[in-house]
């Protein structure tokens, strides 16, 4: 019966409408806040690096000097170390991560998929500082005693390539840092690659198997071509992580503001320089030079991560179709 329906008082209706608009605006305001956080970081770092920019200009990027006493600073050794350690990390991590993704999607019994996937992802949960302490006390001595002398004796003798493996086995250095970074980014690349592999339509996979392809042929000729963009995106995501990783690298890189061709030599990265020197930096120019290093790091990682995100978005759209 129509008459018995209680009617909502107009004033209450109005109040609810206002509350609705209010709630919506609040959530939107916070969303805008998160957005402006990125801008705020950029602006704050740009302002902080002002004195160094004025003092060194573009020369900062190409100078190898790092002399706090004379107030001479250059970014090149740190940028070089950042790029080289990340490159070493990618060379090790990408093939291994691909292997893990292949294992989890094609080879692993379905029962074991989740547990093994979770264990691999737990590698990503271990904090950076734990990798650092493990790298310093456990891994570096092992590398120094076994792997590095072996590399010096074999690859070190190869003409051309030998430059990369020259010098004494110190244990600490660019190679060790790169290896630790590889282990740290491995779970990120593996997890994303696995998810990307899952987007391959079962029909494609099954028809390849039906005409007699082996598993490795299915991966090479069906899965990889279909997911190429996503796999590159996953690798770039790992690269973005590796570039900015701090504590683990600080422990094992040896902290030397020098550029040496040998991967066994100590070096430094942007983040390691910041972690080591920032609180001890005396003088505005020293602090400012370090902030400019941080700014450079942020810009590089932003570009890499944005590219990774765009690639992964493409594969998502692909999967949605």
């Amino acid at each position: 019966m129509i008459e018995t329906i209680t009617r909502v008082a107009p004033s209450r209706m109005r109040r609810q409408r206002i509350e609705d608009v209010l709630f919506r605006s609040i959530t939107r305001a916070f969303a805008v806040g998160v957005l402006s956080l990125l801008g705020a970081v950029m602006v704050a770092l740009a302002i902080g690096s002002g004195p160094a920019v004025r003092a060194f200009g573009f020369g900062f990027l190409t100078s190898e000097a790092w002399n706090p006493v004379k107030d001479l600073f250059g970014a090149l050794p740190a940028v070089y170390g950042t790029l080289v350690t990340s490159f070493v990390a990618m060379v090790v991590a990408v093939p291994v991560a691909l292997g893990i993704a292949v294992f989890l999607t094609e080879l692993c019994p379905p029962m074991m998929r989740r547990p093994i996937g979770i264990l691999i992802e737990l590698l990503a949960a271990i904090p950076s500082i734990i990798y650092g302490i493990w790298g310093l006390f456990v891994l570096a001595p092992v590398l120094q005693a076994t792997v590095q002398p072996f590399l010096i004796a074999t690859l070190g003798e190869v003409p051309g390539l030998g430059v990369l493996f020259a010098g004494p086995p110190l244990g600490l250095g660019i190679l060790t840092a790169g290896f630790i970074l590889a282990v740290m980014i491995l779970p990120f690349i593996a997890a994303v690659t696995r998810d990307v592999f899952m987007t391959v339509p079962a029909v494609l996979r099954e028809s390849a198997y039906a005409v007699g392809a082996t598993t490795s042929e299915v991966i090479r000729d069906i899965v990889l071509p279909y997911t190429r963009v996503g796999v590159v995106g996953a690798a770039m995501l790992g690269l973005g992580r590796a570039l900015g990783e701090t504590m683990a690298v600080t422990f094992v890189i040896g902290n030397a503001h020098r550029i040496q061709a040998s991967l066994l030599a100590p070096g430094t990265t942007i983040s390691a320089s910041l972690a080591n020197e920032f609180t001890e930096a005396v003088g505005d120019l020293y602090t400012s030079a370090l902030i400019e290093l941080g700014f450079i790091l942020f810009v590089i990682t932003f570009i890499v991560l944005a590219a990774a995100k765009l690639m992964l978005m493409r594969i998502e759209e692909h999967a949605a179709k």
Partner: protein, 280 residues
């Protein structure tokens, strides 16, 4: 060798390599956990939780560092979670058709992987410099900035998993949209959102880089939020890099403590997620 044999051989090699890659990852995980247990367990004693960080050569524990870590993690979670949930709500509930939402989602994903040391630099610039000193507040702020993107991401994911039927039923009863969100959707997605918060706590519990130049550290007991405060990650960093054996032992003890806390948080979070009513 026939073509078939060769193809089968290639296949066997590739699959063995993928098996080896997985074994490599698992072996490293167990090696790290094993080293932590081997070196950290000897440091576990009553003193670890009862005494403050010692000068080299005398006995002590990590009490002030544990306290600092717990306080700053709690402050950061309390500050970052509401911001993250509201932003995630905007993306999931009001984001459709809005031009703002994809941009926010994109930036949030970048913040999720942005180097945490840069967040430390940022907070140094906007809080430590104006305030004139390192402080636990600044440390909490840096950690809160790391919490936000994690919570945004999981909140959005979990809210979109809530079946449309629930939403429509509530709207059909005449509930205003904010009530639908707060009283129906949040309640339905509660477990998932909790998962996000726990993952965020696990993430910041071991973060060192953003604390280095915000909270700094403090060798002594301090509960003053406006002063430098001891915290586990930075103490581990300082003690592990030191030449003193007793400091290194404490560093291993702290490392064991942090890692197992984080692993347990992660496992609980995953269990919560798999129990939640709507799975992926």
């Amino acid at each position: 060798m026939t073509v078939y044999a060769r193809r089968r051989a290639t296949n066997a090699v590739i699959l063995t390599l993928s098996l080896a890659a997985t074994a490599f990852g698992l072996v490293i995980l167990f090696l790290i956990l094993w080293s932590l247990l081997k070196n950290g367990v000897p440091a576990l004693s009553g003193d670890l939780f009862a005494k403050t960080t010692p000068p080299p050569g005398s006995s002590g524990g990590l009490l002030n560092a544990i306290y600092g870590s717990v306080v700053m993690t709690a402050c950061a979670t309390l500050a970052g979670t509401p911001i993250g949930i509201l932003t995630g709500t905007f993306l999931a509930e009001y984001g459709r058709g809005s031009r703002l939402a994809p941009v926010v989602r994109f930036v949030n994903d970048i913040l999720l992987s942005a180097p945490s040391i840069v967040i430390g630099l940022f907070v140094y610039q906007v809080m430590v410099v104006p305030m004139g000193n390192f402080s636990a507040w600044a440390g909490s702020a840096a950690l809160a900035i790391i919490v936000i993107p994690v919570v945004v991401r999981t909140t959005e994911d979990m809210l979109t998993l809530v079946p449309a039927g629930l939403r429509e039923a509530a709207i059909a009863l005449g509930a205003p949209q904010w009530k639908v969100v707060v009283k129906v959707i949040y309640r339905a997605a509660l477990q998932g959102m909790l998962t996000g918060v726990m993952l965020a706590i696990a993430r910041i519990a071991g973060e060192t880089a953003p604390l280095l130049f915000t909270a700094l550290s403090n060798q002594f007991w301090s509960s003053n939020m406006n002063a430098p405060m001891g915290n586990l990650p930075v103490v581990i960093f300082q003690f592990a890099m030191s030449p003193y054996a007793d400091w290194q032992l404490l560093a291993w003890g702290g490392a064991l403590l942090i890692t197992f806390t984080i692993l347990i948080l992660n496992i609980i979070a995953r269990l919560l997620a798999s129990w939640s009513s709507f799975s992926r």
